[in-house]
Each structure stands twice: as structure tokens, then as C-alpha cells.
């Protein structure tokens, strides 16, 4: 079992190869990135996101031989994600190696192992027949989760919320689960309430782009209503988080993207270009709605 989304950005001979997630599932195409400007372009155009943007950041630091300057530029392009946190993590290793490329290698060496380990931890607390609702895409970790559940004899079925407007749920998560023959059904974002009411799901699992030590998360738009509904229907809500930071969640900038992107996956989208629209990329889920968070070290809180 595998998913190209588990490691969507690679680095070889000083060239970064970025899986173009906007072309999936129709085409598995990689974009070559050799400069900071090219990296910022693929980042801004949503060619990669989530774990992909973490990898892109580290590799761009490696080709540019800079760290803080890269974090500053990445932050201008995607203001919600904490690139300065990644910068601090990288600099800690760099102080020991004195070489950015070596520091990146060391840092990423254990990442896949850590991600597999934390889903094993999650699998251990999920029901014997886990009916999981998710949103957006957790960069391949749901495939790992399926394997972890299967290995301990638990049954699993996924429901994926389509995640408008970029449809990452439909185009990425549904695709990566389906191609591995993992049981999965696709729903419209607004159908999550009815499937919870009908008890078709018994847990919610999401990723998170940001998290705080207090336990709040910021994740793809549509995560917060899932948590509210899960709370209402008494269904546990778990989030796979990266590196929690000591910050008030309401101080984090929520990225607003161009309104045209709302209509881009609709046929004849130009017809609707005159409509007023807003596109908030992320929402905030307060800690009191979250049953558990599992960080990169496998700690469940």
C-alpha cells in the first residue's frame, strides 16, 4: 500500500520535485523547483500543501542555504502556516551539523517512522469497527492508519468530506484510499450531519495546519463544523497535529484566498466570476471540541 501524497515533495541533485496536487487524480505530475521564486509560485498556487509544504520549506532552505529568510517569504505566501516554527526546528539541528542540507536529511530521516508510529497509537484507541469521517487530506497518513487498524484486527471504513472549493477530499483522500482498495465513501461537506445522525460514522479524524499548546487547532475550512457536529452527536474527534506552539489561536492570521478559486472546479466557472464571494482557507477549532490530539512524537493529549 502506498500513497504518493505521503511524501509529495522530494529532493535530488539540488532539484526539488513537487507533486502537483491540483492535477490529481487525473495526472501524477511533478514540477521541478530550482529557485526560491519557483518554490513560492508552486506554494502560492496550491500545487502542494500540508506535509508537502513542510518538505518544500526544508528543501528550499537546502538549495538557498538560508533559513529565516525562506521562512519569511513562505509566510508571506501562506500566512496561516507557522514556517518560523519549522525554521527554529531546522536551526536547532543546523547548529550541530553546520550544514543545512545535512540538517534537513537528519530532520526528515525519522519523519515517516514517526508518522507511522503515531497512527499506530491512534489505531489502538479507535473502535473495533472504525467508521471514520475525515476532511481534506492528511498527506498519506490515513493509508498508514488503515494498515495499523488492519494489523491489529480492526475493521475500518472511511467517509470523506469533499472539501470545497479545492476538493482535496474528493481529489486526494478519496483517490488515495480508493486506489489502495480501502473502503471509502465520498460525501458533500454538508452531509456530515446526516451521516452522524444516522450513526454511519463513529469517529472523526483530521489533520491540522496549526495547533496550540492549549489544544486549539487550525485546519482546512470545514473542520470546525465537523467538530461542532461531532460534539452535538457525541462522536469522538481526533486530530493529527504537527508541532503545537504557545500562541493564542485568535492571533493567527486566517488566510483568505482569491474569490475566483471558489468557482474554479465548477463547469463554466467564468459565468459566475461577477458574483461576490469570500474564501477563508482555514477555520479554528477550540480545544473543548477535540477529544484527542496526537503529535509527531506520538503523544496523545
Amino acid at each position: 500500500m502506498n500513497s504518493p501524497l505521503a511524501w509529495p515533495v522530494t529532493f535530488k541533485n539540488n532539484i526539488i520535485y513537487v507533486l502537483d496536487e491540483t492535477e490529481l487524480p487525473l495526472e501524477e505530475k511533478y514540477i521541478e523547483v530550482k529557485t526560491l521564486d519557483e518554490a513560492l509560485r508552486v506554494l502560492g498556487q496550491m500545487k502542494t500543501r500540508a506535509f508537502g509544504q513542510v518538505l518544500l520549506f526544508f528543501y528550499t532552505c537546502a538549495i538557498s542555504n538560508k533559513i529565516d529568510e525562506i521562512a519569511q517569504e513562505f509566510l508571506k505566501t501562506r500566512p496561516t502556516f507557522d514556517f518560523f516554527l519549522l525554521s527554529r526546528i531546522l536551526k536547532e539541528v543546523f547548529e550541530k551539523t553546520n550544514d543545512i542540507k545535512s540538517a534537513v536529511d537528519i530532520l526528515l530521516d525519522n519523519f515517516e517512522k514517526k508518522r507511522r508510529n503515531r497512527v499506530k497509537k491512534l489505531a489502538s484507541i479507535l473502535p473495533d469497527y472504525s467508521k471514520i469521517l475525515t476532511i481534506c487530506n492528511v498527506s498519506g497518513e490515513l493509508v498508514y492508519l488503515y494498515e495499523a487498524l488492519r494489523d491489529i484486527g480492526k475493521k475500518v471504513a472511511f467517509y470523506v468530506s469533499e472539501t470545497r472549493p479545492y476538493l482535496q477530499g474528493s481529489r486526494l483522500t478519496f483517490w488515495e484510499l480508493n486506489r489502495n482498495n480501502i473502503p471509502v465513501k465520498l460525501i458533500c461537506d454538508n452531509q456530515s450531519a446526516i451521516i452522524m445522525e444516522k450513526k454511519l460514522v463513529n469517529c472523526i479524524i483530521t489533520g491540522s495546519d496549526r495547533s496550540t499548546i492549549k489544544g486549539d487547532i487550525i485546519n482546512k475550512i470545514g473542520t470546525y463544523p465537523l467538530a461542532v457536529l461531532a460534539n452535538y452527536y457525541n462522536i469522538p474527534f481526533y486530530s493529527l497535529v504537527q508541532y503545537p506552539s504557545d500562541i493564542d489561536v485568535n492571533e493567527i492570521v486566517i488566510e483568505e484566498r482569491p474569490k475566483e478559486e471558489i468557482f474554479m472546479f465548477i463547469n463554466s466557472s467564468h459565468i459566475y466570476a461577477h458574483l461576490d464571494a469570500i474564501y477563508m482557507s482555514f477555520d479554528i477549532t477550540p480545544s473543548e471540541l477535540i477529544t484527542g490530539r496526537i503529535d509527531m512524537e506520538g503523544n496523545l493529549r
Binding site: C188, V228, I254, S268, A277, M280
Partner: protein, 143 residues
């Protein structure tokens, strides 16, 4: 347009009757996309002639509630029987979110056969599936 600059507004859910557009000229609304039918696109085209309409996708409703941007819900139901309203796909989603955020839901009779009515004004997007969802009067608590 920035979310923080927008004052609280009513949100339209479901298919209003034609008379709604006559009596609400000049008013401002959020219009949700209402997947899978994309009802919101048709409604925006109607409203934009004389109203301010801001289009959002359904999964953006959460942050609008969270940021207190939704004044009330104008819920256009398909059928009412006793205390039970039936509406389009996602009706339960909007009703539970409104209830949990203590936002008033105003129930109005909407179009019975919205597909036929709306085909007259918008024909270029596909109707994929259609679901009817029910919710009872307990959702109308609000403020």
C-alpha cells in the same frame, strides 16, 4: 472582500419562492453553495439584480458562525408535516450549526419542485444526487 469587514447578515438556505426576491430588494445575504445541486449559484444570480449577495461554500458556514457573521437563517423548506420540516441536502447541517450557535432559524415555505423552477434560469451545471433531510421545530429556538 475580507470577512472581518462584513457585518452580520441573514443566510439563505433552500429554494425561495419568486415572491421572496420581490420583497427583499436592497437587502444583503450570505448564500451558501448548497451542494450537490449548487442551488446557491442560481439564487445569487436572482439576488444580484437588486441585492448584495455573498457566495460561500457550505464548509465555510462554520467560521461564519464562529465569527458571529450570521444574523439569522432564512430556511426555505420543501414540506412541513406536524412539527417536521424537510429541506434540501444539508438541511440538518445548517440547522444543527444554527442551534449550537444560538442563531434564530426562520422557516418559510420554499419551492416544491426546485429543479424544474430553477432550470429556467440556470441550466449549465449538473445535478448529481438529491437528498431530502428532516429537522424538527426544536431547531427554531434561536435568540
Amino acid at each position: 472582500m475580507n470577512l472581518y469587514d462584513i457585518n452580520p447578515m441573514s443566510l439563505i438556505w433552500g429554494y425561495p419562492k419568486d415572491s421572496f426576491y420581490k420583497y427583499t430588494k436592497g437587502e444583503s445575504f450570505f448564500v451558501s453553495e448548497m451542494r450537490p445541486s449548487f442551488a446557491g449559484l442560481s439564487i445569487c444570480q436572482h439576488l444580484n439584480k437588486a441585492n448584495t449577495a455573498i457566495y460561500i461554500t457550505d464548509n465555510m458556514l462554520g467560521i461564519l458562525f464562529y465569527k458571529n457573521k450570521i444574523k439569522d437563517i432564512l430556511f426555505f423548506y420543501k414540506n412541513k408535516k406536524d412539527n417536521l420540516y424537510t429541506g434540501i441536502c444539508g438541511s440538518l447541517y445548517i440547522n444543527v450549526l444554527a442551534k449550537t450557535h444560538n442563531i434564530e432559524i426562520k422557516f418559510y415555505e420554499g419551492l416544491k419542485n426546485e429543479f424544474e423552477e430553477y432550470r429556467k434560469i440556470s441550466t449549465d451545471f449538473p445535478f448529481i444526487n438529491y437528498y431530502i433531510e428532516s429537522c424538527d421545530e426544536s431547531f427554531s429556538g434561536g435568540n
